[in-house]
Amino acid sequence: MSEAGEHSTTPVTLVDPIDISTLDPHFRNEIRSMPNGDDLYACFACTTCTAACPIACQWTYKPHQLIRMILLGMRNEVLSSKEIWECLTCFQCQERCPQGVRVTDIIFDCKNLAAEEGLVPENILGLGRQLLESGQLYQVTADWEREDLGLEPEVPGLDPEPMKAILHGTRTGRLVGGGD
């Protein structure tokens, strides 16, 4: 019977696995070629990083899962995750990793790859714009406070121009459209 034939080709199941052939097997090498990413391979998924992370409890993808996803090639999922941007950069994961995987550095690498694809949270992009336009994250607004303490109202030696010039030529310039 034709009905039985259909059943025999496709097992009826509720399990909907991730087809490994649809993932990006080069993602791991991409990360390994980035700054401090080379030791990625050493991860053996002990989950020390997640145990060390103060905010992993709030995350859908825990740190060890992010590393696992990189190794598997789940590029889109990693680069579009909110987790990489919420990373505190406190380096506890990296510090405790028994295999020397530079987990925090690798999350920085992921953010750089995400940025290259334009996947940057609005507020972070805003900080980038601020760096590009003013050359600083913080500017003196209350110079009378400095004067009250006997400091010069203008910060001695401060020059925001070189930062602006540098970032016009790098990814920040391309990202925030200030490269013109």
Binding site: W85, L88, L167
Partner: protein, 288 residues
């Protein structure tokens, strides 16, 4: 008199002139010559590092290359700047490919990064170059009986192979003032400042955890060596009063303020009234 390149970054001069002045006063009293670096700006950490690694390398390598012209080590009071400079210094020393690329860019300004000057945190200079004994000699008004909880800050301590900072340094620097170091379980934990731009509620909860841990341990003050950590732990106490109805009353002092007080300087000299959680009442009570 030891001379250093003083790298202020952007946050201390803009938001914490009390940190800046107390550091300068302490340095002067201890015979440390801090010379403001010319032509430098913000380090970009950690947001620039997140979106533009190469831009971040360039900006910080440039700062170090400028310092190389005078040959004096670069000293900063900010953990963010310290972390950026240390990381870039370490990375470029160990990665010749990037070092070459960076130097090609710096060449247009006649600069070159070779790594021969070291980035250093101000407190590490106090400890290593001046020494606990020399500092002790200057302590005229010891803070005997004051329990201080230390918040070291992530980028001071980690990654340890990069920052090369021993937390015991700050413990000793607090003890030399006569104060007691109050240990608390969450001493390594992040203050939450870095997550503010993307998840403010989470940042508040991190600060709250930290403050609770410190309060329960019985500290009277918190000391910090970073404007971002200071801002987070100090300012969030005001927010927590309204959002959670919790009052911590834990004054957050920048370390040089504590040392300056112990060295007999006045509260006005070190801008203590700028600290949001008032420190004066407790100080008066404890030191008579």
């Amino acid at each position: 008199m030891p001379t250093y390149n003083l790298y202020m970054g952007c946050s201390v001069p803009a938001n914490y002139p009390n940190y800046e002045i107390s550091m300068l006063k302490v340095a002067e009293a201890l015979g440390i010559d801090l010379v403001y670096m010319e032509g430098v700006g913000c380090c970009g950490s950690p947001n620039l590092r997140a979106i533009d690694y190469f831009g971040w390398l360039l900006v910080n390598a440039r700062t170090l290359a400028i310092a190389e012209k005078s040959g004096h080590d670069v000293v900063t009071p900010c953990n963010g700047c310290f972390g950026s400079l240390k990381d870039v210094h370490h990375f470029l020393l160990h990665n010749s490919e990037y070092r070459t690329r960076v130097n090609e860019e710096l060449n247009s300004e006649g600069l070159e990064f070779t790594g021969r000057v070291r980035p250093r945190h101000f407190i590490e200079v106090l400890y290593t170059d001046i020494g606990i004994d020399a500092i002790r000699e200057k302590v005229t008004r010891p803070l005997d009986g004051v329990g201080i909880a230390i918040h070291y800050g992530c980028h001071l301590l980690r990654p340890a192979d990069v920052t090369e900072f021993d937390p015991a340094i700050l413990d000793e620097l607090v003890r030399v003032t006569g104060a007691t170091v109050v240990e608390y379980p969450l001493w390594k934990q992040c203050c939450g400042a870095t997550v503010l731009p993307v998840n403010e509620a989470l940042a508040v909860r991190l600060a709250r955890d930290k403050l609770k841990s410190i309060k329960e341990a019985g500290a009277s003050f918190i000391t910090v060596v970073c404007p971002a950590c200071g801002n987070q732990l100090d300012l969030q106490q005001l927010g927590l009063k309204t959002s959670y109805g919790e009052v911590y009353d834990l004054p957050v002092l920048l370390y040089p303020q504590i040392l300056a007080l112990a060295m007999g300087m006045s509260e006005d000299e070190i801008g203590l009234e700028m600290n949001r959680v008032p420190a004066q009442p407790i100080l008066e009570h404890l030191t008579g």
